[in-house]
Amino acid sequence: MARYQNWLLDELKSRGVSRREFLGFCAKMAAILALPSSAAGAIAKAVATADKPVLVWLEFQDCAGNTESFLRASHPTVADLILDSISLNYHETLMAAAGQQAESALAKTVADYSGKYIALVEGAIPTGADGAYCTIAGKSALQTVREVCAGAAATIAVGTCAAFGGIPAASPNPTGAVSVGDAVPGLRNLVNMPACPMNAENITAFLVYYMTLKQLPPLDRYRRPLFAYGKVIHDNCERRAYFDAGQYVEAWGDEAHRHGACLYKMGCKGPATSQNCPVVRWNEGTNWPIGCGHPCIGCAEPNFWDRMTPFYQRLPNIPGFGVGWNLDRIGLSAAALVAAASLAHGIGEIVRHHTGKKPSDSDGPSGDEK
């Protein structure tokens, strides 16, 4: 460990990052993680003295959107360094090796770091056609995810496809696609980091958390970290005042739309969705979907492709909705009603995936385990 003691601070220096900037970064991380400001010092110490943790990143039925998001991690210099401070031993989109050399890098990591590496999984896992809907090096995704995740210290399902099945599992789920949790029953230390794609700031924050506190963050019942998924979008939305005042966008480009009024009537799923988009925003804090005038589509929620569609249909007008009602308590039922309104997409699918509960149950996805 000693030879790693100061490499990170040296590397910061070599990249023109001052100690002060680094501590600023740690303070920002503490804020994202909702830790007290005194935790910044502990984060700085932990990050600066850590050995490089070993990661493998598996891609299955994916679009590489989470990989691309990972590349957008902000606070560039330091975030880049945080990525450098990880030994990413397998990642099809980024690694230099190919073919058998790539596969042997994965096999060697699984053997040499058994019980110590972190597995990140992007994409759903198809169970149909004996696994032939996704093979890598002739092996099915199902075989690989089981072999690799079994030996991992923790498994992070990045993006909604890996966390909940996502778009391949949307009705009628032609390939029998399932989430990592369903593909590897009994998997220990599984963390779901959904959203389409996941926000780069959240995966960076997770890794810092894990390196600093040497444990997983508290999770909600969908195994999502509370620091990123503990609050409903609607509660932190910059347009909330318009909702409470009853000022809505009625048509695209109308005066209300141009002046940033509430998008509820245009179909916004912010009241039924838990994520920290309004706080962390995207691409170095530049913007977020509601900020650019489009409704939230609920992409961090289980089965949102079925539950939240049609996207432009408003959440049903439940009595009390809009005047101080605790929306995170009613979020799920509201979303389920949207889906029910469009019969084409399968109540059966919703019920099957909604942890055995009926869509009319009134507890929101983030309303528990707070």
Binding site: Y4, E11, K52, Q61, D62, C63, A64, G65, N66, L71, A73, T77, D80, L88, N89, H91, E92, T93, L94, M95, A96, A97, A98, G99, Q101, A105, A129, D130, A132, Y133, T135, I136, G138, S140, G166, P168, A170, P172, P174, T175, P197, A251, W252, G253, H259, G260, W282, N283, T286, N287, W288, I290, G291, C292, G293, H294, T309, P310, A344, R352
Partner: protein, 569 residues
């Protein structure tokens, strides 16, 4: 005769497997197989056509705008919606930002390590590296001290013993030919480009809320309001921000990317006679410059056949078909048929070996991609096709000028374009042309604001009651990787049928019923292979196309869906 399997082909989007037969140090036959299938077009059936762009967009998170664009264009075509001028400008900006960012990331992060040996960079002399860098560009990050810092950083990385994504590669392979100083310069720019791409793509966050998977598209326009008197709309401040980001992008492309491509290419000129491929090129054209029904396109459409650059043929979209003779699908009329996408059907039917497997059955079906054909012929699509058609068409004039400059700098003739190296050069030329063009669209947006034209959406066709009961539409787009088309059939306000023919399907598809190889397969024939257990050269030719496999695989079939629904219910 040696049989080589490269699976996974890495540094691409998605899952690609290449099998090749090597004899006498060269590939004498090759097979391209896509090994992943999701069925997004099945999933689209029955849904609200206004939602389709978001589903289609998830076909790919790398070219994260292209399927959204093609989808809204197809639905607009079907229902008769006409996006207003601001929507056209915003789309042009979003599409061009995608092309510029994607091409830079492809060159540095997906392709460069086929040409650049990182281990050699550690032996470079920083002073000589600075001299090299200053001889090709006035980019300010070029001092001996700077390159010394990069070299030391990489040395420190290697000495720590955890090589991560750089482990186990083909370092020291005899096909690497750059001197240590050129390798060090390229490694420095690999790292700079990693920072650059993140900054530049903020254009997408401004115009789309986030990247990847922008969220500002609407059938009939865009959701991003335009109003210079509002804090919550595109205003003078966002115009200034866009101008700045585009200027930074232009700076990097002009002073780093294009000079690097020329410098690296000068050591690999023999690759201008490798990887020629099918020699037919298809371009739909894109970037409408006006709002008429048949607008002038900044990048023109056209067909070039058999490497004949004396003429460009117009595109007849009725001649587009897909075949499944070697694809894991069935046609109800027989697998030897060729079907136009409006009549397309795709019944997934896997007949390959049960996983885990060692070899595919190459004489039978061997890919999840179908085989698109134009007038029965395989066509290459992408930056090379676009630059060839623009070059021969003489517009935009900047293409002809830049192609001429690049050919002169390398001391080769136009025939050199039909190659692995030609694809690399064409991609860089296109990036330069597009990043120079973007500012015009920002200016036009500003002019519309000055005229108080804030329209972003054709609201007359938003509500389904204003749609025809039964309608068909097709949407076309020039994605970074080439010609993209979506075809949609809408009845009673719901999607009946949806089909995409995607750039990587054109390029990476398998043989057709006549046994004609697809473009990857064809380009690989003749590619040298010095060490069959380290097939670096195969990666060079395949990567020159910039594979995007998740895009390539699609499916449509009513019968299959019914079966699946019964099972789910």
């Amino acid at each position: 005769m040696t049989h080589i399997v490269v699976d996974p082909v890495t540094r691409i989007e998605g899952h690609l497997r290449i099998e090749a037969e090597v004899d006498g140090g060269k590939v004498n036959d090759a097979w391209s197989s896509s090994t992943m299938f999701r069925g997004i077009e099945i999933i689209l059936k029955g849904r609200d056509p206004r939602d389709a762009w978001a589903f289609a967009q998830r076909i790919c998170g790398v070219c994260t705008t292209v399927h959204a664009i093609a989808s809204i264009r197809a639905v607009e075509h079907a229902i008769g919606a006409v996006p207003p001028p601001n929507a056209r400008l915003l789309r042009n900006l979003i599409m061009s930002a995608q092309v510029v960012q994607d091409h830079v990331v492809h060159f540095y992060h997906l392709h460069a390590l086929d040409w650049v040996d990182i281990t050699s960079a550690l032996k470079a002399d920083p002073a000589k590296t600075a001299a090299l860098a200053e001889s090709i560009s006035d980019w300010p990050l070029s001092s001996a001290k700077y390159f010394s810092g990069v070299r030391d950083r990489m040395s420190g990385f290697v000495q720590r013993g955890q090589l991560g994504v750089f482990a186990n590669a083909y370092w020291g392979h005899p096909a690497y030919r750059l001197p240590p100083e050129a390798n060090l310069m390229a490694v420095a720019h690999y790292l700079e480009a990693l920072d650059w791409q993140r900054r530049f793509i903020r254009i997408h966050a401004i115009l789309g809320g986030k990247n990847p998977h922008l969220q500002s598209f609407l059938v009939g326009g865009m959701a991003t309001p335009v109003d210079p008197d509002s804090q919550n709309a595109l205003n003078a401040d966002t115009i200034a921000a866009l101008d700045k980001l585009i200027a930074d992008g232009r700076d990097f492309v002009t002073r780093v990317y294009l000079p690097d491509v020329l410098a690296i290419a000068s050591f690999y000129k023999d690759w201008a006679s490798v990887g020629s491929g099918v020699g037919n090129y298809l371009v739909y054209g894109d970037y409408p410059e006006d709002d008429s029904e048949n607008p002038e396109l900044f990048l023109p459409s056209g067909i070039i056949r058999m490497r004949d650059i004396s003429k460009v043929e117009p595109v007849d979209r009725a001649k587009i078909t897909e075949q499944v003779a070697h694809s894991w699908y069935e046609y109800s009329s027989g697998d030897g048929q060729a079907l136009h996408p409006f009549k397309g059907e795709t019944n997934p039917h896997y007949t390959g070996p049960k996983p885990p497997y060692e070899r595919l059955e190459l004489a039978q079906k061997y890919s999840w991609l179908k085989s698109p054909r134009y007038d029965g012929q395989p066509m290459e699509v992408g930056p090379l096709a676009r630059m060839l058609v623009a070059y021969v068409s003489g517009r935009p004039a900047r293409v002809k000028e830049l192609v001429g400059k690049v050919l002169a700098a390398l001391g080769v003739g136009p025939a050199a374009l039909f190659s692995t190296l030609g694809r690399v050069a064409a991609r860089a030329i296109e990036t330069q042309v597009m990043v120079e063009k973007m500012g015009d669209w920002v200016s036009a947006l500003g002019e519309n604001m000055a005229r108080r034209d804030y329209r972003i959406q054709d609201n007359s066709r938003w509500e389904p009651e204003n749609w025809p009961r039964d309608c068909y539409g097709a949407g076309f787009h020039e994605a970074p990787r080439g010609a993209l088309g979506h075809w949609v059939h809408i009845r009673d306000n719901a999607i009946v049928n949806y089909q995409c023919i995607v750039p990587s399907t054109w390029n990476a598809g398998p043989r057709d019923s006549a046994g004609q190889r697809g473009p990857y397969e064809s380009a690989l024939v003749g590619t040298p292979v010095a060490k069959p257990d380290q097939p670096l050269e195969i990666l060079r030719t395949v990567h020159s196309f910039d594979p995007c496999m998740a895009c390539g695989v699609h499916v449509v079939d009513a019968r299959r869906r019914e079966i699946a629904r019964v099972r789910v219910a």
